[in-house]
């Protein structure tokens, strides 16, 4: 039996890795959001640096390609004064047949202090966290369909920024829930922060019924799903799912679940529209909405850097 203790917390309940939002105490989530708030001003300064991670080496290990997430982690680490090494593993070691743990062992020998990991398999960052040296920290930058915790946290930062209080909100998450690590992180974060109504909206092929047990209401009808919502989180529909056994076509998906100005009118007048990016215009979201008054998609990106700075500085400061 492996240790049943949540591997991302030390014995004092402090964050030492960020692997999942699930099981994070509310106080830890709030601490991250508050810390992110204090870093936002750093990003506005002429000298956009604080020395919190000076002398530390942060390795971005992307076993799956993602320019955007990797870049925001890189910026966040550099603003904390860390040395950043980007490794595009998808095209190097793994292609040569080196195992995940061998890669980790090699990089550990180069005195890595932190791994930012993206991997196509759910749970891969757990394996790394369980096998690296005690001083090394792991941040999950997206694992399979499981979690994308920094995205979840930056979404919470965004919601808090615009809505202040979580305890009377209705949040609709729309689209490909079944394959979405963002949706899972958002759902855990929203329930942790006390959001009373979370809706998962989409067709049955993309919204599994047992997601209800995570504390969400399942809506297969778009109008029902977004009516009266304060926050609408649109998910990206991956190209490979646009036609096949999951969906007949992108066009039909847009007709039923695409966010258009007409559908947005069903939400609260001051509703905000979020999207983890990159967006597919005309597939899950109409350009008029993506570029419209309700959209906070670009502020999400800005907040994302501050949130990632907060996560890295907090876990680097806690002892295993």
């Amino acid at each position: 039996m492996l240790s049943r203790r949540n591997p991302q917390l030390n014995s004092h309940g402090e964050l030492i890795h960020l692997l999942s939002i699930e099981g994070l105490p509310q106080a830890v989530v709030t601490q991250i959001l508050d810390t992110a708030g204090s870093f936002l001003s750093v990003n506005d300064r002429d000298v956009k640096k604080v020395p919190l991670l000076r002398g530390k080496s942060v390795f971005n290990l992307f076993f799956e390609n993602s320019t955007r997430t990797r870049t925001t982690f890189e910026i966040a680490a550099k603003r904390l004064s860390a040395d950043v090494i980007n490794l595009d593993i998808a095209r190097s070691s793994a292609a040569k047949g080196e195992s995940l743990l061998d890669t980790i062992a090699n990089l550990s020998a180069m005195h890595a202090d932190m791994f930012v990991v993206r991997h196509s398999e759910s749970g891969a960052p757990y394996l790394i966290a369980q096998h690296c040296a005690p001083h090394v920290r792991v941040v999950n930058a997206g694992d399979g369909r499981h979690q994308h915790p920094t995205q979840g946290l930056l979404d919470m930062y965004t919601i808090r920024h615009y809505k202040r209080d979580f305890r009377n909100l209705t949040v609709a998450i729309v689209g490909d829930i079944v394959h979405s690590r963002v949706a899972r992180s958002d759902i855990h974060a929203l329930t942790t922060l006390g959001v009373p109504e979370i809706r998962a909206v989409g067709p049955k092929t993309l919204v599994p019924g047992d997601i209800r047990e995570m504390g969400v209401r399942v809506c297969h009808d778009m109008a029902e799903g977004i009516r009266g919502a304060d926050v609408i989180i649109m998910l990206r529909l991956q190209n490979e799912r646009m036609s096949g056994a999951m969906l007949p076509s992108a066009g039909e998906f847009f007709k039923n679940y695409g966010l258009t100005p007409d559908k947005l009118a069903l939400a609260k007048p001051d509703a905000i529209v979020m999207h983890p990016g990159p967006i597919n215009r005309g597939v899950e979201i109409d350009s008029a909405v993506a570029d419209g008054r309700a959209s906070v998609i670009l502020p999400q990106v800005t907040f994302g850097i501050a949130v990632r700075m907060a996560v890295m500085s907090i876990i680097a400061g806690n002892n295993a």
Binding site: M1, L2, R4, N6, P7, E22, S99, L100, L101, H119, E121, S122, G123, A124, Y126, L127, Q130, H131, D143, G144, R145, H146, Q147, V178, R181, R184, P208, D210, I211, E213, M214
Partner: protein, 434 residues
């Protein structure tokens, strides 16, 4: 070699015998049970005081990994594991490399096993050549070489026309077909479909993957009259379908693995690859139904589903890790655990790993059919002597199997094998400290 086992508690589920007494063995056979006359002069006497003398265990699913997967297990290591677990007969599936689809391969395996003089090995032949699901194997030749049935192992048979014909052909000659009920299209996930798999972002195998396969198999059994053994049920709905099929009188039997009997999906914890087994661990209600099904006889036998896996193949993300766990050395303790927890009791628990699997094998055991899995005078002397009170902790490093991965690592077990006798010879004896 004459052996005398003295003062043991003889428990034979097949005959209902449960009494203190002695067992005398000569020339590989049991010559007396209960009272042994004074003129039996043993060359060796084993003191079984405090021990249970039971039939040797019969495991209907144990991979030995030979040929082709020697980095994961060798006959030497896995047969040593078998006798250390009290297992004296085991059935191995044909998914070796090359697969057991030719008589020569089966003869070689039988020969290698015999020369080790440990447990009896009963291979299943491949149902189709290379398990490719297209061409039937030479079943008569394979049976002559020693196969006790025919199986697709873990390779699903998508083509129902081929399955229909395979059952027709096998039933012509009275061969049993062993199938794990799993729809090849629906059954490709890495965990059981359900709230846990959804939350963890793991692909799920729905219950309908099992029930659709069972419904298909039962229809084909009705049509052909073929005898089918169903390997490793996993769901409550599956158990219920088997119960109804048996009530209807269909010639089917079935087994369950120790994993699905004792564990559920929540045990996966934080992506513990040791919990990656096939079929996947399902929910509490499924486990409850499996335990009830084993108690009422719907499920005939308990199997270890022993599958040694190389360390490298387990230190991978959950979905990429190779399914399987080592189990031969845990089978007895896990059967006893079920017997104690379910209230079924010790003799009933022993039946699931002795007389019941022998009944599944039936005539395919040949000359052993009349006496394997039981303790009878004149029968083959395959015995397991164990201490029912001994407590021990599962430590992978202490296992004899080359496979060190088990979901039961760290578990406290009760009941430990002290001595295993195969064909009248001591094949395993625990050291004093074990």
């Amino acid at each position: 070699m004459k052996l005398l086992i003295k003062n043991g508690r003889i428990v034979d589920p097949a005959t209902g015998r449960d009494e203190r007494g002695d067992v005398a063995i000569a020339a590989g056979r049991i010559v007396a049970v209960g009272h042994v006359s004074d003129d039996f002069h043993a060359s060796r006497t084993l003191d079984a005081n405090g021990l249970i003398v039971a039939p040797g265990l019969v495991d209907l699913a144990a991979r030995l990994r030979e040929p082709g997967h020697e980095h994961e297990g060798m006959l030497e290591s896995e047969m040593a594991a078998a006798v250390a677990g009290g297992v004296t007969s085991l059935v191995c599936p044909p998914d070796t490399d090359p697969v057991l689809d030719e008589p020569g391969l089966v003869e070689m395996l039988k020969f290698r096993a015999r020369s080790l003089n440990l447990a009896h090995v009963y291979p299943l032949g491949a149902l189709t050549r290379k398990l490719e699901g297209e061409v039937l194997t030479e079943m008569a030749e394979l049976t002559e070489a020693g196969c006790v049935g025919f199986s697709q192992a873990e390779v699903g048979l998508k083509d129902t026309l081929v399955l229909h014909r395979a059952l027709q052909y096998a039933s012509t000659f009275g061969y049993t077909t062993w199938l794990r009920p799993n729809d090849a299209w629906l059954g490709t996930g890495v965990a059981a479909k359900g709230p846990l798999a959804t939350r963890m972002g793991l692909t799920g195998v729905p219950v309908v993957a099992e029930t659709i396969a069972l419904a298909t198999i039962f229809e084909l059994v009705r049509d052909t009259g073929a005898r089918v053994h169903l390997c490793r049920l996993s769901s409550a709905a599956g158990v219920e379908l088997v119960r109804r099929a048996k009530a209807e009188g269909l010639p089917v039997s079935c087994d369950v693995s120790v994993h699905n009997l004792h564990l559920i999906d929540v045990d996966i914890g934080y992506f513990d690859a040791a919990m990656r087994v096939t079929p996947p661990l399902r929910q509490q209600r499924d486990r409850d139904a499996i335990r009830a099904g084993l108690a009422d006889g719907t499920i005939d036998a308990l199997v270890s589903d022993h599958t040694p896996v190389a360390p490298d193949a387990k230190t991978l993300p959950f979905a990429e890790a190779e399914p399987g766990a080592t189990g031969l050395e845990l089978l007895l303790a896990l059967a006893l655990k079920w017997g104690a927890e379910s209230g079924a009791g010790l003799p009933r628990a022993l039946a699931t790993v002795t007389s019941a699997p022998v009944a599944v094998l039936g005539d395919s055991l040949g000359s052993l059919a009349a006496s394997a899995g039981r303790i009878v005078e004149g029968g083959v002397a395959d015995l397991c002597l164990f201490d029912p009170q001994a407590r021990w902790t599962v430590e992978p490093g202490a296992l004899r199997s080359q496979g060190k991965h088990t979901p039961f690592r760290g578990y406290e077990m009760t009941g430990r094998v002290r001595c295993t006798i195969v064909g009248g010879a001591v094949a395993y004896e625990a050291r004093a400290r074990d």
